[in-house]
Symmetry: C2
Subunit: 134 residues, 2 copies
DNA sequence: TCTACACCCTGTAGCAACTACAGGGTCAAG
DNA sequence: CTTGACCCTGTAGTTGCTACAGGGTGTAGA
């Protein structure tokens, strides 16, 4: 299988596949006579794994750890569980941050009276506490 | 005011202040004899504006637009409102994405039976649909 | 007066995770 | 025999900073 087919099968861009190889996430495949990359089932499996993990929001570093862990079948699953939990905590934090942000932004937008910029409440919110009209 | 004081007054790093100047977000200030940047009140106000907008999650490009708009006091506030609304939509999308992610991750983590990696449900979820045990 | 130290300067490289070229080579179909 | 789709390498761009390296300046204490 050439790189285009592999990329297509995993909804990945060709450049991204090469990038994963460059950073050592995907092992370098064999080459054809024309120096084209020739992938097998193991590559497809590994790239699928990477993509699913990425879809779940894991960083490439976390993916790297998960891949390493998944190679040692006899080991306890707890390390895997730990990585996933850390990631979940991170996601929860991001959601909380964004929700707070949304609240503020909602308030700011709600204050818009659609006048001129001079009276714009949004700009006013952003502007530093000015000496108020005096 | 030298750069350190300005940075301190706006909870910004010195390098970031210089970075904002480099990308044209903060106008280059006057220089002292020793070639130190000398800031005035207008710089403080502008940097405060930038920081607050950043705290609300606006991109630097959006901040740039907001700054331009805020300079034209006679203009309608609608452009400002528009930028804010686009940003809010973006935030809502991110929250939705992260919430979906959290749901999936919750489910995956919940399936962990704390056995070995060979039976790890988390790894199994990530691994491609394998021919199941046959 | 010397010197230690905090502060300032410029310029460049690094982070994540790709994406987008530029400038080539290969291969199958019409 | 040429068109077009695919492949190759290598480098630079994206966002929003951050972290040096390698210097200069200014002030306070010994």
């Amino acid at each position: 299988m050439k790189i285009g087919k592999l990329a297509n099968a995993t909804a990945t861009r060709v450049e991204t596949v090469r990038y994963y190889e460059k950073i050592g996430l995907l092992p370098p495949p064999a080459r054809t006579g024309a120096n084209y990359r020739a992938y097998g089932h193991d590559h497809l499996a590994r790239l699928s794994f990477i993509r699913r993990a990425r879809d779940l929001g894991f960083t490439l570093e976390a993916v790297r750890e998960l891949l390493t862990l998944s190679d040692d079948k006899a080991q306890s699953c707890d390390a895997v569980d730990g990585i996933a939990r850390v990631h979940l905590t991170e996601i929860n934090r991001k959601i909380a941050d964004l929700s707070a942000l949304r609240g503020e932004l909602d308030r700011v937008i709600g204050s818009c009276r659609h006048g001129t910029v001079a009276d714009c409440k949004i700009i006013e919110t952003l502007a530093p506490r000015a000496l108020p009209a005096a």
